[in-house]
């Protein structure tokens, strides 16, 4: 049967078809839909772990017990999971262990565009790279076979254009895993203290030698000899781009990108006149090929930064072909960045940060959008959980200079991912920072996934819900308060009190994400501007709410240049009732009582 699947859906399907019974991960674009799909299959246990390291630890345990396990995360997730990763390379597996790293060239929704192919070489773990959804599904199966045959974790690397592109896939029935589930003690393999680990390292090196031989014979390292003047070595979506623009060149398309098939590469190089490597990001394949003593064109003509497309590949290889310059429309167009939703519980918090001119140590989530004007109230954003450490570091470096000026802000999912230990640091090392935890009861940025604070699991079962207040108190924070972020006066007072306190403090802002479908959120009645009262002062505009627009008086029909109490005005605010969800923040800011509920 044929189905139209995204790369992520195909990976989930492939895992199901080859008998995976455990799947773990933490959300992150572009990997998220893998677990969201795998959980729908019968017989698969799938969890959102609190973070990627936990996900890999749980996966390792399941593999030691004989299960076939899939772990999925975005590229930067591998950084978090890197500690167990490198040593799992030594222990190897029992049930197959496949790790999906979903890279994001072009940083469509990431904090960097690191090239995780380097992890394969670094950790000495084989890596496959599919070039469409059909391959994504098949390569998962191959990955499990390699994992069990060579006793190693295996990477499957995707990029955004593979994860989020749909193409036609042939669906098969699931098969059971060939490995039996059992508890077997095997300390020489699983207890990596120096004496044991030292003995495992040569085994890893021997495994790599065997994998290199395998690579030369692997049927997914495919040679297509056409026009022998030009040869392209490539993998993943880059193959599709190259094939699109140079259909009759010769190709060596690599399915296994670590280790590389040296013999095959040398043979291919011998058959073509001019050789190119087409790869996004780092010169990863290029450097290894050059080390084989082969002359090849690569990053001398291709960009390192950003993702490719067919035009980039065409222009790099034959610049004379057609100069496809993106034509700019003569008028400059206003940008359309993403924004916090109307009624988002974060808006009031960032409004207050901005008003108090705080230096805001920020983190990653929807709230990072608080960076955009007019709120302009995020001053750092580096990694998940980083905010709390940044605030502590600023406080320690600047001393009294920072008092009352610095605050940390972090989402609930991010806090549970990697903020807890940093808060512990503030308590332990006599810090005095204030941390605002934005408790919106979901992982909003990546599409609203459950986490340990939501009371539900990935499968939708009810779960014990972590109590953030008790958690912070348990860490030793004595001043833990909650605020309603829709009450601007109370937010401002609470923040002012806590930032001057010379002890650690936590403010938990409680308001569920407005996009949550459950009964947890009921939108109120929309608001409107009473046209005759608005004097166009723009106070409400400072909220940056997508539902409020400021219009010049000349552009508004049937509107007087004077307010009802005869004040001159240049324009007025208008609320779009289709977008407004009645949070009421703008009403609190209006000094002229010009905003109220419709039909009030």
């Amino acid at each position: 049967m044929k189905e139209l699947l995204s790369g992520n859906e195909a990976i989930a399907r492939g895992a199901y078809e080859c008998g995976v019974t455990v799947a773990t991960g933490y959300p992150g674009t572009p990997s998220t839909e893998i677990l969201e799909n795998i959980v729908k299959y019968e017989g698969v246990y799938a969890e959102w772990s609190p973070n990627e390291k936990v996900a890999l630890d749980v996966a390792a345990g399941a593999s030691f017990g004989g299960a076939r396990v899939l772990v999925a995360m975005k590229h930067v997730g591998i950084n978090v999971a890197a500690d167990p990763l490198f040593t799992l390379s030594y222990t190897g597996v029992k049930g197959g262990l496949v790790i999906i790293t979903a890279d994001d060239p072009e940083l469509h929704s990431s904090q960097n565009e690191q090239d995780n192919r380097n992890y394969a070489k670094f950790a000495k773990i084989p890596m496959l790279e599919p070039s469409d959804s059909q391959e994504a599904k098949e390569f998962v199966k191959i990955a499990f076979e390699i994992s069990e045959k060579y006793d190693t974790p295996v990477f499957l690397r995707t990029t955004t254009r593979i994860s989020h592109s749909k193409s036609i896939v042939e669906i098969h029935e699931p098969k059971r895993s060939p490995i039996s589930l059992e508890l077997v003690k095997n300390p020489a393999k699983l207890v990596m203290l120096p004496a044991n680990a030292r003995k495992r390292h040569p085994i890893v090196e021997e495994r790599l030698r065997q994998l290199k031989t395998f690579a030369d014979e692997f049927s997914e390292n495919k040679v297509e000899i056409n026009n022998a003047n030009f040869g392209i070595i490539t993998s993943g979506v880059s193959y599709q781009y190259a094939k699109e623009v140079f259909p009759d060149y010769s190709y060596l398309k690599l399915g296994l990108i670590y280790p590389l098939p040296e013999k095959l590469i040398k043979e291919f190089a011998g058959k073509v006149k001019k050789l190119y490597v087409v790869e996004e990001l780092d010169p990863y394949i290029e450097e290894q090929i050059k080390a084989m003593g082969i002359k090849i064109a690569g990053k001398d003509i291709f960009p390192i930064c950003g993702e490719f497309n067919p035009s980039i590949v065409e222009n790099a290889i034959s610049p004379s072909s057609k100069q496809h310059m993106k034509e700019e429309v003569s008028l400059k167009l206003p940008p359309r960045p993403p924004n916090m939703c109307p009624g988002c519980g974060y808006r009031g918090i960032f409004y207050v940060f901005n008003k108090l001119k705080l230096f805001v140590a920020g983190d990653i989530g929807c709230y990072t959008l608080g960076f955009l004007p007019p709120l302009s109230a995020i001053d750092t954003c580096v990694s998940m959980g980083g905010s709390i450490g940044h605030a502590m570091g600023l406080d320690k470096a600047l001393g009294d200079e920072a008092i009352g000026k610095v605050i940390a802000v972090i989402g609930d999912s991010t806090f549970l991912h990697s903020g807890i230990t940093s808060l512990l640091d503030i308590v332990y090392n006599r810090g005095s920072s204030t941390v605002v935890i934005l408790d919106n009861q979901t992982t909003a940025m990546t599409g609203r996934q459950e986490h340990p604070g939501t009371g539900l699991t990935l499968k939708g079962e009810t779960a014990k819900k972590v109590d953030l207040i008790e958690l912070c108190k348990g860490l030793g924070v004595e001043h833990v308060r909650t605020v309603d972020p829709f009450d601007l006066t109370s937010v401002e007072e609470t923040v002012k009190e806590e930032i001057f306190r010379k002890e650690p403090s936590v403010i938990i802002s409680q308001a569920p994400c407005v996009l949550l479908k459950s009964q947890r959120v009921k939108p109120s009645k929309p608001f409107m501007v009473f046209n005759e009262k608005c004097n166009g002062c723009k106070a409400c505009i400072k909220l940056g709410c997508p539902a409020i627009e400021w219009k010049n008086i000349k552009d508004v029909s049937k509107t007087d240049k004077l307010t009802s109490d005869n004040k001159k005005r240049k324009g007025i605010a208008i609320i779009d009732s289709m977008l407004c969800n009645g949070c009421g923040l703008c009403q609190q800011l209006c000094k002229f009582e010009a905003i109220g509920e419709i039909n009030a």
Partner: protein
């Protein structure tokens, strides 16, 4: 089936139902026996940001993204977003434009101005131009949320796919209780747009 592929670029603003409409389009093309690929970037774009989806179909499709200046049909849900992708269109490309505007933040803040008379600008460069009042048509059948499917109905007139492939695709994507209204919306667009 012709040798060359057809490239459709769907653009608009997060929340307008572009991703769903593209999904149905892709299924209909598969049902009709084409090779088809669709590529979109979601994540940040959901929060009211600008959205684009590439759909390519034909005998055999390699790249999931369209080459610059190779778009055959621009399927635009919003005026300003249609302008943004001018540089990707083939000379002589067809433009289907939903007659709708959504202000970007800088316009709401009174910093930038929304470009004037977009339909005219487009028509001058791309005479093969169809302006559709998606929302008005959707309101005719009493559901403003079906505007995206009305627009899809308009697009369907220019694509060689039988009506039943479209209907199957709509039935696959929507939950039971929304299927009929969306088929109605689709037929309205196909007839009137």
């Amino acid at each position: 089936m012709p040798d060359s592929n057809t490239n459709i670029l769907a653009v608009g603003v997060g929340g307008q139902g572009i991703i769903l409409a593209s999904e149905i389009l892709t299924y209909a093309l598969m049902n009709a026996g084409y090779d088809v690929k669709k590529s979109e970037v979601h994540g940040m774009s959901q929060r009211g940001g600008s959205v684009n989806t590439h759909i390519r179909f034909g005998k055999k499709v390699y790249s999931p993204v369209i080459k610059e200046r190779e778009v055959d049909i621009l399927f635009a849900f919003e005026q300003l977003e249609a302008l943004r992708y001018f540089g990707f269109l083939k000379p002589g490309a067809m433009v289907i434009l939903n007659n709708h505007t959504v202000n970007p933040p800088s316009v709401s803040l009174g910093i930038d101005e929304y470009p004037g008379d977009v339909p005219q600008t487009i028509k001058k460069r791309f005479p093969n131009f169809h302006l559709v009042n998606g929302l008005d048509l959707a309101l005719k059948i009493g559901n403003s949320r079906t505007a995206n499917i009305v627009l899809l109905g308009v697009l369907s007139k220019y694509i060689k796919v039988e009506e039943n492939s479209w209907i199957d695709a709509i039935s696959k994507v929507f939950p039971e209780k929304l299927i009929n209204i969306n088929i109605e919306a689709f037929r309205l667009g196909r007839k009137e747009g």
